[in-house]
């Protein structure tokens, strides 16, 4: 079976000459469908860069990146955008919701780009918001929501298209402990019940414990890769 994601010698270089900096130094990595991967590592280790490349938000300088066997590094901007549109969902540390835009409209946005009808958008967005526990908050703008609620809206926006892969860059980075655990449980249930592959960057080991596999980046390379739970099967409750 082909892996969902395969990195072969991925290198990312920033700057030139004296200022040259290698964020990734020939990373080889493979992620299976249905997995829940936590990527850890100190800042500057390349973990976010790696995830941005996986999410087609950034392009590698060298190396091959295969998404379900497709060579992503050969795709043009529009093809990468379509890949994001149809297979990926994003959750960012800073939420990145559109300001002055209601939760409902934020969640509908990916569907609008998919060309769904108003009725389908409305129903799907309501369902996604209900799934993250935000029924009744559809018409609030980000400014009227707490950080935890905003991150839930962001998750609802990421899952409304029923993506293959959910990418979360420090999803709990701006939240307090209790909210963080709520968000993690939400991610676990999406992985368990909907079979969405989750790739999460975090620097909190506590949050990484929810995952099935922990990858640690150091200096632009994979330093440690451990399977903490079986690929298929329930994640045990964390005490």
């Amino acid at each position: 079976m082909t892996a969902l994601i395969e990195f072969k010698g991925i290198t990312k270089r920033y700057g030139q000459g004296q200022a040259e900096f290698l964020a990734l130094r020939g990373v080889d990595l493979s992620i299976e469908e249905g997995d829940f991967v936590a990527v850890m590592g100190p800042s500057g280790s390349g973990k976010s860069t790696g995830m941005n490349i996986i999410g087609c938000l950034d392009t590698p300088t060298e190396g091959e990146y295969l998404f379900r066997g497709t060579h992503v590094e050969l795709l043009d901007r529009n093809q990468r955008a379509l890949l994001r549109r149809h297979y990926l969902g994003f959750v960012f540390q800073g939420f990145n919701l559109l300001s002055r835009t209601t939760a409902q409209e934020n969640v509908e946005l990916p569907l609008l780009y998919r060309g769904e009808s108003a009725a389908v958008r409305d129903a799907a967005a309501k369902q996604a918001l209900a799934q993250v526990g935000l029924n009744g908050w559809e018409h609030h703008t980000p400014a009227e929501l707490s950080g935890g609620q905003q991150q839930r809206v962001a998750i609802a926006r990421a899952i409304v298209t029923n993506p293959t892969l959910l990418l979360a860059d420090e999803p709990t980075g701006n939240l307090d402990t209790q909210r963080s655990h709520e968000i993690m449980e939400l991610l676990v249930s999406l992985n368990e019940e909907q079979g969405i592959t989750v790739l999460m960057v975090t620097h909190e080991p506590e949050m990484a414990e929810y995952a099935k596999r922990n990858i640690t980046f150091v200096d632009g390379k994979v330093a440690d890769d451990q399977r903490t739970r079986p690929l298929s099967g329930k994640v045990a409750e964390v005490a």
């Binding site: 950034d58 901007r77 379509l82 990145n96 835009t101 409209e105 990916p110 780009y113 060309g115």
Partner: protein
């Protein structure tokens, strides 16, 4: 895709009401200022042209003295009835030759009094000046010959002294004598040089010479040329004839001047055209300031918009979808601003034209020009930052500070 982008653009406009409003405002001010000023300037030019042509067509005005305007040449001899007869008999192609004298006097009727100019002339005066009667008649030959005290009233005199009452056959007192009203002229309105042409009492030449002036001089001659093509020839012949009659030697300057209404028209409309251009230039500054306002608003929101573009790209928007949305947004705002500007300008122009008593005409080219200019700025500065942002990798757009 077009429909989606339109929907997104309209949402975006509604969401950023203040920004949208300010953008529209900049365009509205620019567009309406330019259109109003230029329309009014053109109206003023048109009004002056109308008034000059109402003086009479193909009209030559002959006065003693060298200068065209002002009261120069006091010492130069006046004209006489013999000059008039000489002109009539020796120059061909003339529609009318009217002698003219005038004096300011107070006229009284129906216990109203009014200070006006009393003009002495012949029936040719009405021909030369394109005057029409609203009631009554012009002078009879015997009235002219005998210098009888009959008068034709300008519309202003009729209004001020008699109101709506019929004045024909009434008696009007001028200084120490009275005259009978035989006709009332149709109104022409304010003259180009600011004098009310309708504020006049017209009598036979001899009556004014004898009763008001006490001499037989003629202070100016109005000549109407039958065919416009003959004006130059008539002018040359007239100069020769008058030099001869006034015994001017070869080297001597003319001691009279001939003014052509075409010249007056050209001079005056030249002046107002300069004024219109000046107004237009001032208004262009406001268009420019409006444009800079639009630029500022658009550029200030670049950071916010760049992040927004990053978000849209991240969740799967294509570059061209994002650009189309921003383009539509800019076009809608610019078009809306332009339309409001044109509507405002049209309203303001109509009202101001009424107040200033100049004709209103819709000037298509200036409407189009100012609309295109401000809409262009709106679109350019709404679209360019978006174009730059949409070219970035999504992650760079998202990180934009």
């Amino acid at each position: 895709m077009l429909w989606n982008s339109l929907l997104l653009a309209l949402r975006e406009i509604r969401r950023n009401l203040l920004r949208s409003f300010l953008t529209i405002l900049g365009i509205v001010i620019g567009v309406s200022a330019v259109i109003t000023m230029v329309t009014l300037g053109n109206g003023a030019t048109q009004a002056i042209k109308n008034q000059v042509s109402s003086l009479g067509s193909n009209l030559l005005q002959v006065r003693p003295g060298q200068r065209m305007f002002g009261r120069g040449g006091r010492g130069d001899p006046q004209f006489s009835m013999a000059d008039i007869q000489a002109i009539q008999s020796q120059i061909s192609g003339l529609a009318a030759v009217a002698p003219e004298v005038s004096r300011n006097a107070t006229v009284v009727a129906m216990s109203n009094n009014w200070s006006t100019s009393v003009t002495g002339t012949s029936n040719d005066y009405f021909v030369a000046g394109n005057w029409e009667l609203t009631s009554g008649r012009t002078f009879l030959p015997e009235e002219e010959a005998a210098g009888q005290t009959v008068c034709v009233l300008g519309a202003t005199i009729q209004r001020e002294l008699y109101g709506t009452a019929d004045s024909i056959g009434e008696r009007l007192r001028v200084k120490n004598f009275s005259c009978q009203v035989i006709g009332v002229l149709k109104a022409k309105g304010q003259a180009a040089v600011g004098r009310d042409q309708d504020d006049a009492v017209i009598m036979p030449l001899k009556a004014v010479q004898r009763r008001l002036l006490g001499n037989r001089d003629i202070s100016s001659i109005q000549i109407s040329v039958a065919d416009e093509k003959d004006i130059d020839r008539v002018q040359t012949q007239l100069t020769e004839l008058l030099r001869e009659r006034r015994r001017l030697g070869n080297g001597a300057d003319d001691n009279f001047n001939i003014m052509d209404t075409r010249q007056i028209a050209e001079t005056l409309s030249g002046t107002t055209q300069v004024l219109t251009m000046l107004l237009g230039a001032v208004a262009s500054v406001s268009l420019l300031v409006g444009g800079i306002g639009i630029m500022n608003i658009m550029l200030v929101s670049v950071t916010e918009r760049t992040r927004e573009i990053g978000i849209r790209l991240a969740i799967g928007a294509l570059e061209r979808e994002v650009l189309l949305q921003f383009l539509i947004e800019a076009v809608v705002l610019a078009a809306l601003g332009g339309l409001i500007g044109i509507i405002l300008a049209t309203g303001a122009s109509i009202v101001l034209a009424q107040v200033m008593q100049v004709p209103y005409t819709f000037n298509t080219s200036i409407n189009l020009l100012s609309f295109v200019f401000s809409a262009g700025i709106g679109i350019l500065f709404g679209y360019m930052p978006a174009k730059r942002a949409a070219r970035l990798d999504p992650i760079e757009a998202l990180r934009h500070e």
